[in-house]
C-alpha cells in the first residue's frame, strides 16, 4: 500500500469506524439462496444460450417500511453501438425481460449509471430504446461514461436533473450525481471531446484523476432535503460511485466522503446502493450500509487493496462466458423491517465465493499504475 493510501485509510478508519458506531442495532445481515421465478421467463424467451438456471443470493438488510415493496436495479450496461457489439445489448435485453417479468412487479427501476460506453448520442439513445420495454417507473443517475463526451448535454435531454429525491412507502429515496464534478484535465491539454471521454472511459487511466465526488452544492442540497426527515426513518441513497473510500486509483470512492459522512451522521438507517465497481461489495461506514451492484456488461476484478472486510467476495468470473460475473438486482423492502438485495448473476449457482480458489483475492497482487497515458503525446 502506498504511503498516501495508507494515511487516508487510517484516517477513514478513525473517522468512520469509531467504537460503538454502527448501522442501526436492530439490523442484521443474512444470506439465502433460492430460485427466482422471473428467470424462468427470461431463459425461455431468449433460448438455450443461457444454459444455467441461476440461483439468487440474498443479502438481508433491515429497515422499517410502511408496506412491503420491491424495486429493481440495473446499471453499467456500457452500451456500444449495435454495429460494434451486440453482446452488451443482449444482456440489457435479458435484464429488461427479467425485470418486466417480476411478479409481483417491481414498484420502480433504478438505473445506476454507465448506460453508454463512450457517451455517444447513439449509445444513450440505444439504451433508452432497450429500456423502453420496461413499463414500470424508471429513475436514472449518470455514470462517468455517460457524461464526458458532451458534459452531460444529451444525458440531461433524455433524463433531466441528475440528482433527485422522492418518498415511497415510508422510505426517502435520493439519487446523487457523483460524476459531473471532475477536475478539468482537458482544457490545458486542448483535448477533443473524444479524447476527454477516452481518458474518462479508462478505469485505470491516470489523466482524469479524482473525478468522483458529491460536491459542496449537492451536499447542501442533500442536507436540506433531509432536514425534515425523522432521524430514525429509512433513507436509501443511490450513487454511481461508492460513498466511501475503497480504491481511489479506480475512483472506487467519492473524494469528499468525509463531508458525506458529516451530512448523514445523524441518520441511523441509511443504505447506499451504488454501481461503478461491477462487483459484489458490502461495507458499513459509520451508521450507513453500502452495497455494490453487478454490471450487466462485464465484471471488474476486486482492487488489489482496500476490499472492505465485511464484503463476502463474489466468484472469479469465467472469462469465456460473458454472462458470468454480471447481472442485475432486486431490492425487497418488506414489512418485517428488511431490505433484501438479491444478486441475480446469470452464469452461477453461487454468487459468493465458497472456497479460496474461486476467489480472485486468493492471488495476492502488487500492481502499479499504467504509464503510457501520461507520456507525450498523450
Amino acid at each position: 500500500m502506498s504511503d498516501e493510501l495508507d494515511r487516508i485509510r487510517r484516517e477513514m478508519h478513525a473517522v468512520l469506524q469509531q467504537l460503538g458506531v454502527r448501522p442501526d442495532d436492530s439490523l442484521q445481515i443474512t444470506r439465502r439462496t433460492f430460485i427466482h421465478r422471473s428467470l424462468l421467463f427470461g431463459a425461455a424467451s431468449v433460448g438455450q444460450t443461457f444454459a444455467w438456471w441461476p440461483l439468487l443470493n440474498t443479502i438481508d438488510v433491515a429497515h422499517a417500511a410502511e408496506a412491503p415493496f420491491k424495486f429493481a436495479w440495473i446499471s453499467d450496461t456500457h452500451l456500444y453501438e449495435k454495429s460494434l457489439n451486440t453482446r452488451f445489448v443482449d444482456k440489457v435485453v435479458r435484464a429488461v425481460q427479467e425485470v418486466q417479468a417480476m411478479d409481483p412487479p417491481a414498484d420502480f427501476l433504478i438505473f445506476g449509471g454507465d448506460l453508454a460506453q463512450l457517451g455517444k448520442i447513439e449509445e444513450l439513445e440505444l439504451g433508452v430504446d432497450l429500456l423502453k420495454d420496461l413499463t414500470i417507473k424508471k429513475y436514472y443517475i449518470p455514470g462517468e461514461h455517460d457524461w464526458y463526451l458532451d458534459m452531460g448535454k444529451k444525458w440531461g435531454e433524455l433524463f433531466g436533473q441528475p440528482n433527485w429525491t422522492f418518498d415511497h412507502k415510508g422510505v426517502r429515496f435520493i439519487g446523487l450525481d457523483t460524476v459531473s464534478r471532475g477536475p478539468d484535465y482537458w482544457t490545458v491539454k486542448k483535448m477533443t471531446p473524444e479524447e476527454r471521454m477516452g481518458h474518462m472511459a479508462t478505469l485505470d487511466g491516470t489523466v482524469a484523476g479524482a473525478w468522483a465526488g458529491v460536491g459542496r452544492d449537492q451536499l447542501d442540497w442533500m442536507q436540506k432535503i433531509l432536514a425534515d426527515w425523522d432521524k430514525s426513518k429509512p433513507i436509501v441513497i443511490f450513487s454511481h460511485n461508492p460513498l466511501y473510500e475503497y480504491y481511489p486509483p479506480w475512483n472506487f470512492w467519492v473524494r469528499d466522503w468525509r463531508e458525506v459522512n458529516e451530512v448523514l451522521k445523524p441518520y441511523t438507517k441509511v443504505t447506499n446502493i451504488h454501481g461503478h465497481v461491477h462487483q459484489v461489495l458490502y461495507n458499513e461506514i459509520g451508521s450507513m450500509r453500502s452495497i455494490g451492484m453487478l454490471a450487466t456488461s462485464w465484471p471488474w476484478p476486486y482492487a488489489p487493496e482496500g476490499v472492505p472486510k465485511l464484503t463476502k467476495p463474489m466468484i472469479r468470473a469465467d472469462p469465456g462466458d460473458h454472462f458470468d460475473g454480471v447481472g442485475w438486482e432486486t431490492v425487497n423492502v418488506n414489512a418485517e423491517d428488511k431490505v433484501d438485495v438479491e444478486y441475480i448473476m446469470w452464469g452461477r449457482k453461487e454468487v459468493f465465493v465458497q472456497s479460496d480458489p474461486d476467489s480472485s483475492l486468493s492471488q495476492p497482487e502488487k500492481l502499479r499504475p499504467r504509464m503510457a497515458d501520461n507520456m507525450w503525446p498523450y
Binding site: 460506453q117 462485464w298 465484471p299 476484478p301 469465456g320 497482487e365 500492481l367 499504467r370 503510457a372
Partner: protein, 154 residues
C-alpha cells in the same frame, strides 16, 4: 536482430533511436561482460524495457494507432484487455506456467494472452514470439512487479 527491429519500430522517437543505437555499441556481443557496467548502460537497458512497456500498455488499453502500427487486431468487440484487467490486475503473470482451465492445457502467459485475444475479444491471435506479444508480456509483468512467483497456482 531484435535491436534492429526495435530501432525501425521507433523511428518516430528520435532521441530514443539514439539511445538504442548506443546500446548496440556498448553491449554488442564482442564487448559484453568484459567491462564493468556503467550507469549509462544500466539506464539504457531500462529504457529498452520501458519502451516495450509503453507499447504494451497502449496495446493493452486498446490504442488503435499502436495496434495498426504493429499490425495486430487484438479485439473486434470494442473490448480492450484493460477493461477486464485494470492495471493488468487479475492477469497473474506470476502464476505461469500452469494448467489453464480454459484450454485444458499446460500454458504460458503468452498462450493465455492469445486465448483472451481470440475468445472474449474475438480478435486475431498473434505470433507467440511477435513484437506485440513481447510488448504485452512486458507491460503485464512490469505492472505486476513485486508479486511473488507461484507457478501453477490457479
Amino acid at each position: 536482430m531484435t535491436i534492429r527491429a526495435t530501432v525501425l519500430g521507433t523511428l518516430c522517437r528520435p532521441s530514443f533511436v539514439v539511445a538504442i543505437a548506443a546500446v548496440a555499441v556498448f553491449v554488442g556481443p564482442t564487448s559484453a561482460h568484459k567491462e564493468p557496467h556503467t550507469p549509462e548502460q544500466l539506464k539504457l537497458y531500462e529504457d529498452v524495457l520501458m519502451e516495450e512497456v509503453r507499447k504494451g500498455d497502449l496495446l493493452f488499453h486498446g490504442d488503435a494507432a499502436t495496434a495498426k502500427q504493429m499490425n495486430v487486431v487484438l479485439s473486434t468487440t470494442g473490448m480492450a484487455c484493460a477493461m477486464c484487467h485494470p492495471m493488468a490486475s487479475d492477469t497473474h503473470p506470476q502464476s505461469y506456467p500452469k494448467f489453464q482451465v480454459e484450454t485444458s492445457k499446460f500454458a504460458t502467459l503468452r498462450d493465455m494472452i492469445n486465448w483472451c485475444i481470440e475468445k472474449p475479444n474475438q480478435g486475431e491471435k498473434i505470433e507467440i514470439d511477435s513484437e506485440a506479444m513481447k510488448a504485452l508480456e512486458a507491460y503485464i509483468t512490469w505492472s505486476n512487479s513485486g508479486s511473488v512467483l507461484v507457478p501453477g497456482k490457479h
